[in-house]
Amino acid sequence: MDEEQVVKFVETYLKKKGFKQAELAFQDEVQHNSNANSVDIHSDPDLSLLLLSLSQSEDTPARYNDEYSKLRSWTHSSLDLYKPELLRVLYPVFVHCYMDLVAKGHMQEARTFFNSFREDHEMMHLRDLQKLEGVLSPSHLEEMEFAHTLRQSKVNIKICQYSNELLMQYLRNTKSTMMLGIVNDHINFQVSPGQPSLISDDAEVVTLIGSSQDAANQINKKEIHWGLLEDSLEERLENAGALLSDSEKTEGEAKEGDLDETKRRSIEGGKQGASVKKLKKDKAASATAKVVRPETNTGSMAPRVKSELPLPVIPTEVEQSIVEDLRNRVQLSSASLPSASFYTFINTHNGLNCSSISHDGSLVAGGFSDSSLKVWDMAKLGQQSGNSVLQGENDTAPSEHVLGPNGVKRSYSLFQGHSGPVYSATFSPLGDFVLSSSADTTIRLWSTKLNANLVCYKGHNYPVWDVQFSPVGHYFASASHDRTARIWSMDRIQPLRIMAGHLSDVDCVQWHANCNYIATGSSDKTVRLWDVQSGECVRIFIGHRSMILSLAMSPDGRYMASADEDGTIMMWDLSSGRCVLPLMGHNSCVWTLAFSCEGSMLASGSADCTVKLWDVTTSAKVTMTEESKSGSANRLRSLKTLPTKSTPVYTLRFSRRNLLFAAGVLSKSV
């Protein structure tokens, strides 16, 4: 390449970029000392190539189209072994080509380019494409979060050495500098020696997320303690069971005489401030007279952790009743399926947004789009059928709420106070409080005993999509359109922690069994796990293809289930941050998930009017790689499908005794 050419290139470059001053200056310079140019272009072929491309790029839009289609056909005709890896490169290249075209102002060409190649990627990235389709001007690129993050970050693609070489060689040989530029700018190849990786391994690779995969991996390396709380009631009961089995060998069942005494002692012990060891012994003793519970290993295997939050004290009577429930719990397995009780809302006039069921199933709350929250007491509902003798007892409850303004008797207590649709409601573990979140950006605390609003928590700036009480009560977490999740305690009107990091709305929130973590699901298709104490994100779970609608934590604290808009349910191992397995079966939004109390079963309720029961004990042992080898065995996990009568299922809850409660609205459509 001789000097003249170089001069020409530089000139055209300057002209094209509109640097008129520089161009003139350059021309002057060239004329004055034409021999003084000392840039050694000859020895740098890359530079000359770049210059060449810059000088040639008068007809850029066409070149994008050209080079991309060439790359595409080359990829499709590449070796079978390397094709999957190379195909993965196409999508980011496609997206960035489009955005480059938009950024340079070639709207028309961008649209034609997009439309001519979108079919390739529709299967995997339909939702992203739908979003990107709307980007039509350079300003949109800046404004739209998704596009913006795409432009900012690099995509990580795992690729084997040979594929990488192939690609680079192709790009160099064909002089597709546009593509080369995009690949260099936006793709970060993680070249691995040896054979290409399996496609099934890295479904997440193809998901373009804002934060880079590296960051996610970094985050996922943090240590988490997923064990259950020390000294939980269940642990105590289990120890009691273990003790019992010991004592049974020696003493047999002759303890009945002591029963009364031990019970009394246990109550005293509780009152005195619960010296734990004593209580354990008491429990052991009192348990002898009770039904022997089959031992479960799941609980005892889980490591124990200390709570990082100061926990509320549970009243002894409540503790007693919970222990009683635990003792009477039905063991669920694939052979013994649970009984399910269904609460159907009728005459909602399309206004019910959410529902919630208390832990014992006696209270049902519904949040309505007319800003009201209604709570039904199912125990009273049964009596209403004309049992006037018991009416006297009911009178102790404030009757003005039961009676409507016109004296018409209502079957529910009406809570009014919100000024926007109520999107979520949650009962405290004891059932004495209800929290509701609304589009008016507030969360309200209501007392079911007083039937009155106690507190209004203001802190979010946008609608609050979800609110959840912690498993011990007192604390609660909220998720909002403002892309944050917040931790609150009942006694403060300001949030204790703000979890920020999601790239889109936080749609749902769930507490970990040990209260040290919360999980949030978002419209950015990720689930994150946050440390409550530090407010840090400790896990990112990537794999869903659409908005996350519901989350559930396994009672042993090890697994989490998340469900999305498409009906896919994913089980995650919290410690590794990997997907254990996807559960396919629903064909519409899964509104709710619930683990059975001992964690052997997962129930899911969906807009397709079914409740599905999944066996998760077996799945827990099989990792995803084994799963893929053994074929699509996940169908085996589905134990039972319970269709409802055109009633989408909004809420599911297992009671402590493993009775399944479900709620939904009878919809007239279909």
Partner: protein
């Protein structure tokens, strides 16, 4: 460029009072409008999801606008579907038709009924995993089919793969075997190898994958090989062997096989050569049909009824040829005496009336036709005889061992003689027949049948009540006498004597159906009486 055309922008601009919007402005606004629209829809869908709905309403759009601090659009309450009307003179312009409402009407209208208040009802969705059949649950029949499908999906590991239209893969060996068998059937059905093949077909255990191919092959070959007698017979033998094979599950293919088999039974022409003994083929097929009915009749309730219907139709249609009638009779007879009694005997009289002229030399000049008629007559007699024999068996004293043996022997003789008749006696037979049927047909029948009637039909009536033994034994005696004579002569015709005797016996014994039987006997007697002189004639010969 944008899905929003610039005309729309202009119209919108006009609607808010900007009349002189430049084209460039409209053009650059269009993509932004599209982007904003998508943005609003994205938020609206979020609101829809959080309201736990799958249908977008205008409330969701309002909520989305609210999120973006935009005034909601009024007047689109989601009461009913919106009625868009096309603006006159514009192709792509629509507007919503707002009705004028008179205040007076609104004020004076009666208050609408208050909507029902929300309530919660409770029911059991499942009890220990089983859904109770209560009206609150989805109806059972709705549950059943999908749950079946799902169950199979859940239980089988790869149910989808199984249901996929998988290409039926045949092993190389089976293909070779099939080719060999078909080749033998088509070309060399008289070789010893073919016999071996039939044995193999009837016994080998691994042939099931070939069954659909065999059924297809048989159906195809029968359809196009009706002229090839040898082929047809070979095919029927293949069917027979397949039916014999205990390892083959042939039921699902019966519906394909049956038409071909029935064709071989009642087709008008089987084989194109004079020498083709299609009678034998029909007899063989009749026994085949009978065995099919016996084996699968209880599984397919409609099998026998449909078959008998087909055969009876063939028999009673006077337009059908005699060969077809023969096949039908043989088929019906093979199905058992009850079928004959119920279906053939009632139609005997009219049928014989049609048949008789065919058998007469003066009426039917064509020797072939006459022969066919006689064949049919013989088949009819045999069918009736078997039926009668069966009836006789019902009465305890009658079925004495000699009678059995005699009948069996007799049948063999009959078939033998029939065969011989076809070959050697073909020319010899008509003369006696002619003589036999010469005069007496009308004369003797009128003379003798009345005399028989009182003797046979009336006298036993009382005797049967008191002593069945004597009457049957007395009837048996001439029977055996007849038989002796018959064996001497070796003639099939004498069977008719015996049958007539047995027949008489039956009619005698059958008290319940007294009158009907009497008349039937009369009818059949006519046919038989025409035969009576035959032994004498043969004796004479």
């Amino acid at each position: 460029m944008s899905i929003v055309p610039k005309e729309t922008i202009e119209v919108i601009a006009q609607s808010i009072g900007i009349n002189n919007l430049s084209e460039d402005a409209a053009l650059s606004l269009a993509p932004d409008v599209e982007y904003r629209m998508r943005e609003v829809m994205q938020e609206a869908i979020k609101c829809m999801r959080h309201s736990k709905r799958t249908i977008l309403t205008s409330d969701d759009v309002d909520a989305a606008l609210n999120l973006r601090n935009v005034e909601p659009i009024y007047g689109f309450a989601s009461g009913g579907p919106l009625q868009f009307k096309r603006a006159i003179g514009h192709r792509d312009l629509f507007y919503i038709d707002d009705k004028d409402v008179d205040f007076k009407d609104v004020i004076e209208a009666p208050l609408p009924k208050a909507p029902l208040d929300t309530s919660v009802v409770c029911h059991w969705l499942a009890i220990e995993g089983v859904q109770p059949a209560i009206p609150e649950n989805a109806p059972l029949e709705v549950i059943a089919p999908p749950s079946d499908g799902k169950n199979s999906e859940q239980k089988d590991k790869l149910p989808v793969d199984i249901k996929l239209p998988v290409k039926h893969v045949l092993s190389r060996e089976l293909q070779l075997y099939f080719d060999k068998i078909t080749e033998l059937t088509l070309r060399r059905s008289d070789s010893a190898l073919f016999k071996e093949a039939l044995v193999s077909l009837a016994t080998d255990s691994g042939l099931h994958p070939l069954v659909p191919y065999f059924t297809c092959f048989i159906a195809d070959e029968v359809a196009c090989g009706l002229n090839d007698y040898k082929l047809l017979f070979a095919l029927m033998r293949v069917v027979w062997s397949l039916l014999q094979n205990p390892h083959i599950h042939i039921e699902p293919y019966l519906h394909q096989l049956m038409p071909s088999v029935v064709t071989c039974l009642v087709a008008k022409r089987l084989g194109n050569r004079f020498a083709d003994n299609h009678w034998e083929l029909r007899d063989f097929t009749a026994s085949l049909v009978a065995s099919i009915c016996k084996r699968f009749g209880h599984i397919y309730g409609s099998l026998q009824t449909r078959l008998t219907k087909t055969l009876l139709n063939a028999l009673l249609d006077p337009k059908r040829s005699l060969t077809q009638h023969y096949g039908a009779i043989q088929g019906l007879a093979a199905l058992g005496p009850n079928v004959v009694r119920l279906l053939v005997l009632p139609n005997l009289e009219p049928y014989l009336r049609v048949l008789e002229p065919e058998m007469l030399l003066e009426k039917q000049r064509n020797e072939m036709k006459r022969y066919e008629a006689w064949r049919v007559y013989g088949a009819l007699l045999r069918a009736a005889g078997k039926c009668i024999y069966d009836r006789l068996k019902i009465f305890p004293p009658l079925p004495s061992p000699p009678a059995h043996a005699v009948w069996r022997d007799n049948r063999k003789i009959v078939t033998c003689s029939n065969k011989r008749k076809a070959g050697t006696e073909h020319l010899e037979q008509p003369p006696p027949k002619r003589l036999a049927t010469d005069g007496p047909v009308d004369v003797v029948s009128t003379d003798l049948s009345p005399s028989h009637m009182p003797g046979e039909a009336i006298t036993p009536a009382p005797s049967n009540d008191s002593n069945v033994g004597p009457s049957t034994s007395s009837a048996h005696m001439p029977n055996s006498n007849d038989l002796d004579r018959k064996v001497e002569r070796g003639k099939g015709d004498h069977r008719s004597m015996k049958t007539s005797a047995i027949l008489n016996q039956v009619w005698k014994d059958d008290l319940k159906s007294g009158h009907l039987v009497a008349s039937l006997f009369e009818l059949f007697g006519q046919g038989i009486l025409s035969f009576i002189p035959a032994p004498e004639m043969s004796l004479f010969l």
